[in-house]
């Protein structure tokens, strides 16, 4: 009796052991756990985009706890699991437009309105997307996959997730993590190329202070912006519609509560859910592939191309501008839509060469134009490839 009870306990313990993470762990799981820990370390130690890297890093830990596939509905790819339900916001593409709503509600487009020519820098930086698209095609990716990978060059996480969920859902995890990682690494990626492509004389160009923009202009901006861009690229509607809607909530002056919710609790909630689920979607079995490595390489390349394209475009543009109206090429990097990090980089690099030359406000112009530009580019890719 006692013997059979002991063997029953032993069998149960053995069975339990097969359910533990220790039993099911593979080297791939451990690699991903290290990646997750690295993200968390970078966020806390160096404060690289902590709002993104902490949720994504922790999400990677959550997604890579090894478990026995016994239909317990715990994995993110198991239909009906809590994580899977939260992940639907990514898969179905409704988190990114909500993030854009918040971005619209917190973005001041004054710099862009006061100096509209800065919009063109935002357009030029989108070369990063299509440069990566061309290279991805040469590396053997299908056109739809290449489009989804290229969008990393827009430096816009929500847009990258939105587009990849439509064009190449199987690559979405790698694309999202790559996009957010490189956005966090903007302070490391961009400055060397900014210094490389500019002369000392160009780096100290002082730009005219932006004029004061009236509230009427600020109200007109989201309405005209929506109509012009979405009539041209209706497929950009989910992102651009929400971006401009959020901005109207902010600028109308009569929907303060809604604007505050959009740029506060709502965007925070969605950022948490998006970050954790994108992180958790990097389950080692799905994520650690050769394609992911290629995507990471292409992502870095697309950021470099976008940065260089923005800077070179400003230098080219300056050839046609009068002496007092020249643009400091150090704001060219801000054409990528990593708001406001890339604008901050313009400011910091600019201050290194002239301690009284503040470029932040000027850089915010191409920065927000980059948001619009990357959403338009995503709309074009969606229209062409879906």
């Amino acid at each position: 009796m006692q013997e059979s009870f002991l063997s029953f306990l032993g069998e149960n313990l053995q069975l339990f052991l097969t359910y533990t993470g220790f039993y099911n762990a593979t080297p791939e799981h451990l690699i991903m756990l290290v990646v997750g820990l690295l993200f968390i370390f970078l966020a806390i130690r160096y404060e690289f985009e902590p709002m993104l890297l902490i949720p994504i890093g922790f999400g990677i830990l959550i997604g890579n706890i090894p478990f026995k596939d016994a239909g317990l509905q715990i994995g993110i790819y198991e239909e009906g699991s809590v994580l899977n339900i939260l992940y639907q916001g990514v898969v179905q593409g409704w988190y990114p437009p909500l993030i854009f709503l918040g971005i619209g509600a917190m973005t001041d487009f004054s710099a862009l309105i006061s100096n509209p020519k800065l919009m063109l820098i935002g357009a030029a930086a989108q070369f990063g997307i299509f440069g990566a698209y061309i290279i991805a095609l040469q590396m053997g990716f299908e056109p739809n996959q290449a489009g989804a990978i290229g969008i990393i060059g827009g430096a816009d996480g929500p847009t990258a997730i939105f587009l990849s969920s439509k064009l190449a859902p199987n690559l979405m995890g790698a694309i999202a993590v790559s996009a957010y990682s490189y956005m966090a690494l903007v302070p490391i990626i961009q400055p060397p190329f900014m210094r490389l492509l500019t002369t000392k004389k160009e780096r100290v160009i002082r730009m005219k202070p932006p004029r004061v923009v009236s509230s009427t202009e600020k109200i007109i901006f989201p309405i005209v912006g929506l109509l012009l861009t979405c009539f041209l690229v209706p497929s950009g509607l989910p992102l651009l519609g929400m971006l401009f809607f959020g901005n109207l909530l902010k600028e109308s002056g009569v929907t303060r509560r809604l604007a505050e919710t959009a740029r506060g609790p709502l965007i925070d909630t969605i950022t948490i859910l998006l970050g954790v689920t994108v992180g958790a979607s990097t389950q080692a079995t799905q994520f650690l592939t050769l394609n992911s490595v290629k995507i990471f390489g292409l992502g870095a390349l697309s950021f470099v191309i976008a940065t260089c394209a923005g800077i070179l475009f400003v230098k080219f543009f300056n050839l046609f501008l009068k002496k007092g109206n020249k643009i400091n090429p150090l704001i060219g990097n801000s054409g990528v839509s990593a708001v406001p990090d890339s604008a901050r980089i313009s400011q910091l690099v600019g201050l290194e060469y002239d301690a009284t030359n503040y470029l932040l406000m000027h850089a915010m112009g191409p920065n927000v134009a980059g948001v619009i530009g990357s959403a338009v580019a995503a709309g074009i890719l969606l229209g062409f490839l879906v």
Binding site: L112, I113, S114, P116, K117, M119, L120, G122, A123, A124, Q126, F127, I129, F130, G131, Y133, I134, L137, Q138, E142, P143, N144, A146, G147, P209, R211, V212, V213, S214, T216, E217, I220, F221, V224, G225, L228, T229, L232, V233, A369, I372, G373, V376, A377, I380, L381, F384, L385, V386
Partner: protein
């Protein structure tokens, strides 16, 4: 005020109706019809009969319960689609099939009429009011057995005969993405995509540039006019800018601050002589002597 509220309410009602209309039965199309079924699709009872396929052209689920299907133009309400059956909900861009076997008692999807192989067959779908025609088609007489008559592409206008019938599935079967194939074939380097897409991105932002350049000019001149009206001073081109004025003002302020002989914290008391003040009146300041 009441009129304004009514207008706003009407606007909302209108918007609601337009919005609701988009996912109503008006999005349903008669999509494919098989008149003579000899060696073809079999129903749940193992019987062969003609069938009518409906297609939901909208991006939303449409419930066709209460609608009417008929083969008689003079009797639009011939077969009412039963209510309360969840299967009458047609998902977005999906199909549903009705058997024209003349035995409605077999279930929701069995019509109370049959299709006549010897003459033209008029088929129509009416909305639940029995009056609003949603879609109609006349299937020409002389249909061949097991060859259906349907729209070339689901929901579109052109009708053709199908030797390979497609009940409850797409009339045009796509096993590849035409757009992606086109890019793969004609733009393997990605140059075409890059040029086109960048042109569109630039065009979009150039449109915004010109739009806001114009709006900016109007705003500046409006602001100038307002300032001139308020101050009575005509502002000339090349006048001192606001930034310079602000700098001069702050310099003057600083200078003025430096003129002080004493620190701001020194209190100066100036004696004010007044003949009378209620505060110094004796009647408020003295106690009355208590009566003994």
């Amino acid at each position: 005020m009441i009129r304004r509220k009514t207008e706003v309410l009407l606007l909302f009602v209108l918007l609601f109706i337009v919005g609701a209309q988009a996912q109503r039965v008006t999005s349903i199309r008669i999509n494919e019809v098989l008149v003579i079924n000899e060696d073809n699709f079999v129903d749940d009872y193992g019987k062969r009969s003609g069938w009518i396929e409906l297609f939901n052209t909208s991006a939303g689920t449409v419930n066709i319960q209460g609608c009417f299907i008929t083969n008689d133009a003079n009797n639009p309400t011939k077969y009412p689609v039963p209510k309360g059956d969840v299967l009458t909900k047609i998902p977005p861009h999906q199909h549903t099939l009705f058997w024209a076997d003349g035995v409605a008692s077999r279930g929701t999807f069995h019509l109370n009429f049959e299709l006549d192989p010897d003459r033209d067959n008029y088929i129509a779908l009416y909305d639940s009011d029995g009056k609003t025609l949603v879609d109609e088609i006349v299937i020409p007489a002389g249909q061949m057995a097991d060859v259906s008559y349907g729209r070339k592409v689901d929901g579109l206008d052109e009708w053709i005969s199908f030797e390979k019938v497609t009940p409850s599935t797409n009339n045009l079967t796509l096993d590849t993405n035409e757009k992606i194939d086109n890019f793969r074939m004609n733009d393997s380097l990605g140059i075409g995509m890059t040029v086109t897409a960048m042109a569109v991105v630039f065009l979009g932002l150039i449109l915004l540039f010109f739009g806001f350049k114009g709006i900016g000019r109007v705003a500046i001149s409006a602001s100038k006019r307002r300032t001139e009206k308020a101050t009575g001073i005509v502002i000339q081109e090349g006048d001192i800018s606001g930034e310079v004025l602000a700098a001069i003002s702050s310099a003057l302020y600083e200078l003025n601050e430096d003129v002080h002989d004493f620190e701001n914290t020194v209190l100066t008391i100036q004696k004010v002589k007044r003949n009378y003040s209620p505060w110094s009146s004796k009647i408020y300041g003295l106690r009355e002597i208590p009566r003994k």
